[in-house]
């Protein structure tokens, strides 16, 4: 389907993956008041080797939870999460150790992702120790990783502590830690949202370039379509735990099909004085993950919702080069 990518089996596969959290304590459970928050509710997609895919949506849409399942910080409560043909949730012992050296996460907040008691050298040595890389090679691997993220004079940073570095430098260290074991798959969770605007571009460029050079498969989680477009050729849009649209980023930007994506694209602010101030094609409500509407979860804000949307959740429909979950786009029968 995707040109220029490996045509073999997918590297990552999610099949109706679910991540449900019980809410409320023992008392609530006894009273039958306890509910379940469906952070991720039946998400299905595949990533081919070398693909870079954006996971886009508002806070609470399940994009970060999906990312956490992919790197196994959380175990799927339903469905399957596969990496290279293996069920990720079932990994233990050596298999898990191998998985950890092949799959990495870049954290959102660089100010919290590094242990304040560790020097940069300690931080970068940790994954090497875990992967049983001989100590003699550490120095060279660390320097190489730091060069990869363009941290100029690496020797100067080695023995510093995180609080002595700027946000942009810290996020480069976080990236270096993720890249040091030469992973095949990297999940980046809003890696620039905590950074100042003037340094964001530098971090984004490093991410984009290293990914392309090393052919790393990547998921880029963000709420910002403009950033996703900068680093990803394909975008998956999520809303309240489900996928609403999945397709090439440029096509989604130019011609969004799902009503939610349409509102999202219209809402992205642009740094130009001349722009549309037309009202958004969306209701004023806010999604409530604890109590989503029946049928299509977007229907209470959707300007084009009709009877069927309240009854039945829309399944995937192939439209042009995209997958859309919307009754409007289902073939007429």
């Amino acid at each position: 389907m995707k040109d220029g990518h490996d045509q073999g089996p997918p590297l990552v596969r999610l099949d109706a993956a679910e991540l449900h959290f019980p809410v409320g304590g023992v008392v609530a459970q006894l009273q039958g008041r306890a509910t379940v928050v469906k952070a991720v509710d039946g998400v299905t997609f595949e990533l081919r080797r070398g693909e870079s895919v954006g996971l886009l949506g508002e806070s609470g849409c399940g994009k970060t939870s999906t990312g956490r399942m992919l790197v196994r910080l959380d175990k799927a409560t339903g469905g399957r999460v596969e990496f290279d043909g293996e069920d990720v949730s079932g990994l233990t012992g050596d298999a898990l150790k191998r998985f950890r050296s092949r799959v990495q996460l870049i954290f959102q907040n660089p100010f919290e992702a590094l242990n304040p008691r560790f020097t940069i050298r300690d931080v970068l040595a940790e994954p090497l120790e875990n992967a049983r890389i001989p100590r003699a090679e550490h120095e060279e691997r660390i320097l190489r990783a730091m060069a990869l993220v363009k941290l100029g004079d690496a020797g100067q940073f080695m023995d510093r502590y995180p609080h002595q570095l700027s946000g942009g430098q810290l996020q480069r260290i976080v990236m270096a830690r993720a890249l040091i074991l030469e992973p095949e798959f990297v999940v980046a969770d809003e890696p620039v949202s905590m950074l100042d605007v003037s340094v964001r571009a530098g971090v984004l460029n490093v991410f984009r370039d290293v990914r392309a050079q090393q052919g790393i498969t990547a998921i880029y989680i963000s709420h910002d379509l403009a950033l996703v477009r900068y680093v990803c050729e394909r975008t998956i849009v999520m809303y309240l735990g489900r996928i609403v649209e999945d397709g090439p980023t440029e096509d989604i930007v130019a011609n969004p099909l799902h009503p939610y994506t349409q509102a999202l694209v219209a809402a992205v602010p642009v740094p130009h004085p001349d722009q549309s101030h037309a009202p958004l094609p969306i209701g004023r409500g806010a999604p409530d993950p604890r109590n989503p509407p029946s049928g299509c979860t977007f229907r209470d804000r959707c300007p084009r919702a009709f009877d069927r949307c309240a009854v039945e959740a829309p399944g995937p429909t192939h439209v042009q080069n995209r997958i859309v979950h919307c009754h409007l786009h289902e073939p007429k029968t």
Partner: protein, 338 residues
């Protein structure tokens, strides 16, 4: 031109850390016209929030006004007694915080909190306050039956609307909004920005909008004030400033922003990081990161000079701005600062 609603003249604010003064805002000057939205833009630590907060005279315990004045409606805010300032706050100058959750009391319903302001400060009776509260909620687009809800029952966007309703309660002339949409998702962000525009257009309220996002500025502001390392580096009408910036920092910011409306281009960072305000470099503070810096930039502090009409910039190379702009759009220019 009409009389400005607010005029800042050479305003400086200092923080005392240990036994040393750090100047967080130095010699800030700009006007706010009635019924306009002014965007105060800059990176974290540039002094924009300190400056905005000083206009309500709510500052951290170790901060003080180190000089200058802020003339609001003929009175110098910085020279007013605490009592007179109290009369001004909320009634004439209202504040919208970044996170409304921190400004709302979790144990009272939002209706009670709104009524409290209207009765205590606005001198309304209980029924009048109730009617006014409903009116305010309708205005900001929240159903009036939610007045009985507690802050935690609202989503982030809704809480921000409640904060706007609170700010509007006593018909202020000026609203200071400190990153009011930063924590929100794009759709909600857009809706709140539309709300701010409506305040301006229908009620004639002026807004000082503190933000780090020039897209937000482009969407709602009439004028821009760009700050860098405690100083105002550029100020002018929004459209002119964004399309034809005269300060290299503004030019650099423009390159660093992704733009969904045009073809996918290269983003260029500004290398380096803002200086430590405890020991700022002499001369222009942007010089260490500026690709166009010359010898004098590192020694002499540039003042705000006219670039074009009411478009001012603090740069020694203003006369060459057009040439610099042409060079600034090329990525390579920013790779190795001079």
């Amino acid at each position: 031109m009409t009389q400005p609603l607010l005029t800042l003249k050479d305003l400086s604010i200092a923080y005392r850390v240990g036994d040393q003064d750090t100047i967080a805002v130095e010699g800030a000057s700009f006007d706010v016209q009635p019924g306009s939205i002014v965007g105060l833009v800059g990176e974290s630590g540039c002094g924009k929030t300190t400056l905005a907060r000083s206009l309500t005279r709510v500052l951290a315990g170790n901060a003080r006004i180190a000089g200058g004045e802020a003339i609001f409606d003929g009175r110098d805010i910085m020279a007013l007694s605490e009592r007179a300032m109290n009369g001004l706050r909320w009634r004439e100058i209202a504040f919208i915080p970044q996170s409304a959750m921190n400004s709302l009391d979790p144990v009272y319903t939002v209706g009670t909190q709104l009524a409290e302001v209207l009765i205590r400060r606005g001198g309304l009776g209980r029924t009048a306050a109730r009617t006014r509260a409903e009116e305010l909620f309708e205005w900001v687009g929240i159903e009036t039956n939610r007045l009985g809800d507690y802050p935690h029952q609202f989503s982030g966007g809704m809480r921000q609307r409640v904060a706007i309703a609170l700010a509007l309660a006593l018909d202020p002339k000026l609203i200071i909004a400190d990153e009011p949409v930063t924590a929100l998702d794009v759709i909600v962000q857009r809706q709140i920005l539309d709300q701010l525009r409506e305040l301006k257009e229908r009620l004639g309220i002026s807004v000082i909008l503190v933000t780090h996002d020039i897209s937000v500025v482009a969407y709602v502001c009439d004028r821009v004030v760009v700050m860098y390392a405690g100083r105002v580096v550029e100020t002018g009408p929004m459209a002119a400033t964004l399309t034809a910036p005269a300060h290299p920092y503004t030019m650099g910011l423009r390159n660093a922003f992704p733009d969904l409306a045009s073809a996918a281009g290269e983003l260029t960072p500004i290398e380096g990081a803002p200086p430590d305000l405890a020991s700022p470099p002499p001369g222009c503070r942007f010089a260490p990161r500026c690709p166009f810096a010359e010898a004098r930039c590192r020694t002499d502090v540039p003042g705000l000079d006219v670039y074009d009409g009411d478009h001012l910039a603090a740069c020694h190379r203003i006369p060459e701005a057009e040439t610099l702009r042409a060079r600034a759009v090329v990525s390579e220019t920013w790779e190795a600062p001079a």
